[in-house]
Amino acid sequence: MSSPHVLVVDDTHVDRHVVSMALMRHNVRVTAVESVMQALMFLDSEHDVDMIVSDYCMPDMTGYNLLMEVKKSPKLAHLPVVIASSDNIPERIRKCLDGGAKDYILKPVKIVDVPRIMKYI
């Protein structure tokens, strides 16, 4: 079986690097982009993405906006989306889960979070 392909979306370079490495340690192929726009363009051209892990707070479009775009697209709606955020705000967590996110994890992402994320594939 080929290794799963995860799209990481985060505007912070440090976080893209850390989250990508944590996933790669679990034999995951990672594509990391820095905005929702780039993520949507990538999803439009690539068809082998198995999961999206997105930051919440980003300029222009948030992780929630990405979640909404993915869920309304017939082509993408099946993709599991996990939101990562440093803010522990119950209303925001509920909004993301109600919107179809598989999970909402608190940043910084830790190594132990990865198996939990991977089970959504």
Binding site: D11, T12, H13, V14, D15, H17, V18, M21, A22, R25, C57, P59, S86, K107, P108, V109, K110, I111
Partner: protein, 147 residues
Amino acid sequence: MAAAALTSQLNALVNNMFAMGLLDDQFQQLQMLQDSTAPDFVSEVVTLFCDDGERIICELSRQLEKPNVDFDRVDSYVHQLKGSSASVGAQKVKNTCIQFREFCQQRSRDGCLKTLDLVRTEFYDLRNKFQAMLQLEQQIQACYPKH
């Protein structure tokens, strides 16, 4: 012999950074992610953090000098710095960012300026120690013949 001495110097430096509360256990997460397939991972992340932090601190001084401070904008920069500090385990800088965000919410320019001075001092102190750490790592690597 030289390598052993440098290694103990490096360990003492890192232990001291933990003891002083500059770093927390997230830094150990980074160390755990580094292995022979990614031998430079920690130094890459630390370098990204130092570059990002310097850029954000410059931007914060610029924003707070303006006659009409856009506190939401200031807050979003502090949020970025808090995020990357949390991701490298820069505990002290992260905690100061939390205070900083409270002053943003209160729309307190004085509070923001004072906290900016504090976060700047803490950030550059940490950056100097990170640079010393990376230098020691390079010296240690140089002790071993290349493959």
